[in-house]
């Protein structure tokens, strides 16, 4: 592991030097290495996963900068705002995105602040609330925006736009809310996603490419635990976030999962420490900054934390009037991968194939598979069915689905009985091509190397009542 650690040190020399030798900060500007905090007067007792209130929209919250070695001197960066929260630092360390509203009655919008002169400019100007902005490579950003329509109901979808606010694109389309966005080093966006239809489900971590393609489940908390923070990525390929343990009310804990194998590597980093954790910011392999509240204490402050020893370090900052709910460091950092996009807005559909809807699930007994053989699938939309499609002999299907439309798939046997599903919400971006190994299969399974019968034929158009789609054919090279 030390190898990975070493790499980290090499990767962040600027931060280290500055962090060690301190940057005294007298004027109204944020120097490299300062910690930028979101401080909220209110506590996040029960987050609203559908609308984000009291979770991603924090009334009266402010963004402050603190020098870790002179924590007593803080700079309030958002004095001109009635509320501001969840800052995100640009790759060059010079700017900051955040969500804020000037006045109590304004909607929340995304702003960018120049950390040298602390001047802010408004990027988005929607009627609906926007929050959780993150920088994307190529001078773009992603954020969550309230979206109300027949398809998604009242949900927060992810949008992207240029940093000047132009070129807005919606990238998620399911009746689910996505908050607490993070861009991983691999270039993908990871969000806390809560399905709202047909009923509200537990939040999970959903991962997708910045264009909304290949959206997939990344992590699901164990029963009784709920995700309450955004995700931070360490340099040794771990993701850190906070969960609220329902079985231990009031106990908010830090969880680590491995990037490589998120579903089976959950470690509770703080189970042996009394008190609550809201958030963690890894600054080195063996050092996190965490927002922590002692048992009985009123507010969350910032502490150091050693994840390998699972021990709290010194407290860096706390303010009894505020809870620190988020932290970033104003420093130049590596840009994530700038992933290419296969999306083509001239195309009206996307393609999806599945190798075998009856793929052998290791966790179920063999006899189950013999008695429960699905022969067809039903594709269902939010409040309608898109049609029933026979699968091929090998269990494969191949669909051409109207793009940006959420759908779910159920598998059905010869007698019309439901075998499994419906699966979680899917959508295809225009010109997206997607593959599934099976339905409800082990997510760590890769496809078998075989030529599925379905893809040797033309795809079935979904909804099935559309006989033909006339559109430009895009050849990918």
């Amino acid at each position: 592991m030390s190898g990975v650690g070493l790499k980290f040190f090499r990767g962040f020399p600027a931060f280290l030097i500055i962090y060690v030798f301190l940057v005294s900060c007298t004027g109204k500007s944020v120097g490299d290495g300062m910690i930028i905090l979101t401080e909220s007067p209110e506590l996040l007792r029960s987050p609203d996963y559908s609308e984000g209130t009291v979770w991603r929209y924090l009334p009266g919250a402010r963004i402050t900068a603190v020098n870790p070695d002179k924590p007593e001197k803080i700079i309030v960066l958002t004095e001109e705002f009635s509320s501001a929260c969840f800052p995100e630092i640009s790759y060059d360390g010079k700017c900051m995105l955040f969500t804020a509203r000037k006045n109590e009655n304004d909607s929340w919008q995304i702003w960018e602040m120049n950390l040298r002169n602390l001047k802010s400019r408004k990027i988005t100007s929607f009627d609906e609330n926007c929050t959780d902005p993150v920088y994307l490579p190529g001078n773009r950003m992603a954020f969550s925006r309230q979206t109300i329509n027949d398809t998604v109901g009242n949900a927060h979808c992810i949008f992207t736009c240029r940093l000047d606010g132009s070129g807005v694109q919606q990238v998620t389309f399911s009746p689910a809310s996505s908050f607490a966005n993070t861009v991983l080093k691999d270039g993908r966006i990871i969000t806390v996603n809560t399905v709202l239809n047909p009923q509200e489900a537990d939040p999970v971590l959903q991962i997708m490419r910045p264009d909304g393609t290949k959206a997939d489940l990344y992590y699901k908390a164990p029963a009784g635990c709920r995700l309450i923070s955004s995700v931070s990525e360490t340099n040794d390929r771990h993701l850190i976030f906070a969960e609220r343990n329902a079985g231990n009310p009031g106990k908010d804990e830090l969880i680590s999962i491995s990037y490589n194998r998120p579903l089976h590597t959950r470690i509770n980093l703080t189970s042996s420490i009394d008190g609550d954790f809201l958030f963690a910011l890894p600054v080195a392999t063996d050092r996190f900054l965490v927002s922590y509240r002692k048992p009985g204490s009123e507010s969350y402050g910032i502490c150091e934390f050693d994840p390998s020893e699972k021990k709290l370090g010194r407290q860096i900052y706390s303010d009894p009037r505020y809870n620190v709910v988020d932290a970033v460091i104003a420093v130049r950092h590596d840009r994530p991968k700038n992933l290419p996009s296969e999306v083509d807005m001239h195309v009206k559909t996307g393609l999806i194939m599945c190798q075998n809807i009856n793929v052998f699930n290791a966790e179920l007994p063999r006899s189950f598979h013999e008695t429960h053989k699905a022969r067809r699938i039903e594709v269902v939309g939010v409040d309608t069915t898109y049609g029933v499609v026979d699968v091929e002999e090998d269990g494969s299907f191949y669909l051409k689905v109207i793009a940006d439309t959420p759908f779910r798939i159920k598998t059905i046997d010869d007698n019309g009985n439901l075998i499994s599903g419906p699966c979680s919400w899917l959508w295809l971006r225009p010109n997206e091509r997607r593959g599934c190994v099976g339905c409800h299969e082990d997510p760590e399974l890769v496809p078998r190397n075989l030529l599925s019968i379905a893809v040797t034929k033309d795809p079935v158009i979904i909804p099935v009542h559309i006989g033909e789609i006339k559109e430009k054919i895009v050849e990918l090279e």
Binding site: R237, S258, Y259, H264, G435, N449, L451, E475, E477
Partner: protein
Amino acid sequence: MKKIYWKLVLIIGVIGLLIILIYPPFHRWARAHVNYQTAVEDHPLNCLSCHLYTQKTGLISKLINADYYSPFNLALSNDGKRLYVVAEESNTLLVVDTEKRKVTNKIKVGYRPHTVILDKDEKYGYVSNQWEDNIYVIDLGNNIVIDTLDTGNGPAGIALSSDGKFIYAVNSYTNDISVIDLSSGREWKRLAAGNNPTGIGMSPDGRRLLVTSRRANLVPYGDPVVCELTVIDEDTKMVIDRQDMNSAYMLENIAFTPDGELALIPLIRPKNLVPSIQVEKGFMMTNGMAVIEQKPDGRVIQLLLDEPNEYFADPFDVAITPDGKRAFVSHAGVNRISVIDMDSIRSFISHTPTEMLEYYSNHLGISSKYLVKRIVTGANPKGLVLSSDGRYLYVAEHLEDRIAVISTESLETVNTIDLGGPKRITVARQGRRILNNASGTFQTQYACYTCHPDAHEDGLVYNMASKDMGRNLANTQSLRDIGDTPPFKWNGKNQTIYKQDGMRFSTVLTRNEAFNYKDLDALVAYIVTGIPYPPNLLYNPTGELNAMQLRGKALFERTIDNHGNEIPEKQRCITCHPPPYFTNKNFEDVGSLLASDDSMLFDTPHLNNIYASPPYLHHGRALTLEEIWTVYAEEDTHGAVNDFTKIELNELIEYLKSIREPEYYINESKKNKVLQAKIKNH
């Protein structure tokens, strides 16, 4: 003075004016030229990118390039003091003193050495020379070459018989194994092996040998990918079994556990039959190893070394500690060594039913059961060797010109041995590293090298899912000297390698951030300058064609058919396939388009070393050269051949197989011109 001054002003003015006048059109032209060459509009107008680094010959090429060693396979003396390093690119065998960590001897060996082995008494060493079709016998006492043993084509892995009287040479190009009698130095017989066989390993009891294959058996697209593991009985020296390695290929080297119960072979499980629609969830490649039970009716088990969000591309060599507890696998594509706990493997496979093992062979999470650690190495780790006491693992860092020494206790690199190659990394060398490294691909699932092993091709056909899934099959093309024959791709839509490996390539192939211009420069420089053809030793070693090939050449060049009718120009082989590259670089329809193909003309492929690139045609359905005409051009759509007797078709094919690297034909035509000039002068 004044006059001179004014004159100067005038001259400078005129020059300035000229520059002002010339610069904009020149710049416009340059911009247009670069835009065309790169297929992007924001390329910095760097002339060096294409005009310096891609020089193949001449002084500039000599200046900007350097000669590296590129350590490949290794052998270690029993006492652990002498490490023998095959330096693939310098055609030498390096003798390294492991205590002093210094190269003590450089023994010149043959062209493109592949493997080195030592005999039991360490009196003799044997080095296979892949591009020279022989084995050098080395007197280890004096570090000199004392004999040459002829082999078949492309000897790679070699092994001594258990009595030391025979040597087996795996002929990687002719797919067989030469059994050479060491008492006479002559080949006794040849045993058929799998496709592109490479590694060979003798079981610890000295009774069986296993021979790996890198390429899958040739089958029509859609049939399962199966690679052969050849089993030779040491007693009779005959093949007794050909085990199916299902859904796997690129089986490289072999290691047995000391008790002989298990054999490990690194491998890749490709997904070429699945439409190339995503990288996520192992949709393109997975990497792992075979665990083969050696007991009678033992199982062939495949286990992945990948993880759900990180892949460990291009596993190459494997070594097992003498106590049988740990195995090490080098992943050339990600600069890692996987450390595997063998007891966990044993327990896992013994407790898991075969059918579940089959299921787990596609499971990315299963590696957590036996993986101990990933050790970082220098660029492109290839050959591994363990000291006989099992304490140190030596790693050939192929593109680092360095040997890493890893402690098997601490699992850390404790030392490195510099082989003394050039310190600077040339642009082409950097390009080679990029081509060999999977970091250009999403989650490092595969490198360029994966589908282009040895910068050639992997013999598979992929479903590039261009317009639609299940459509547009593409037979992987070799990269050997590919820069000479633009355009690229089967449909010839890419005019330059720059474009080929640019943005669109990243969108559908690597699905990762596109190469930056510096990396592209390097990649292009390597592809254009660094990937020569191996000599065509099997069919045309000297340039002199045999009678059958000559008759075939006449057929290739004929203008009159067997009935005495003139063949229309378009129907003559030579029209579209003229030397030196045997392509006119034009587009043609040869009737090979499938119903599942989008309508297109094909970029006429070059035919240099065509014998080495089965299957054939863009869809790879012609498994042999014969099938191009016997099956896929029934109506004379691919040249006029329907008047051929079978003898004539055979002659044509023998000629095609004789076609060698383009330089030969360029030199020949130069010679002919000189000759003609001489005749004229006379």
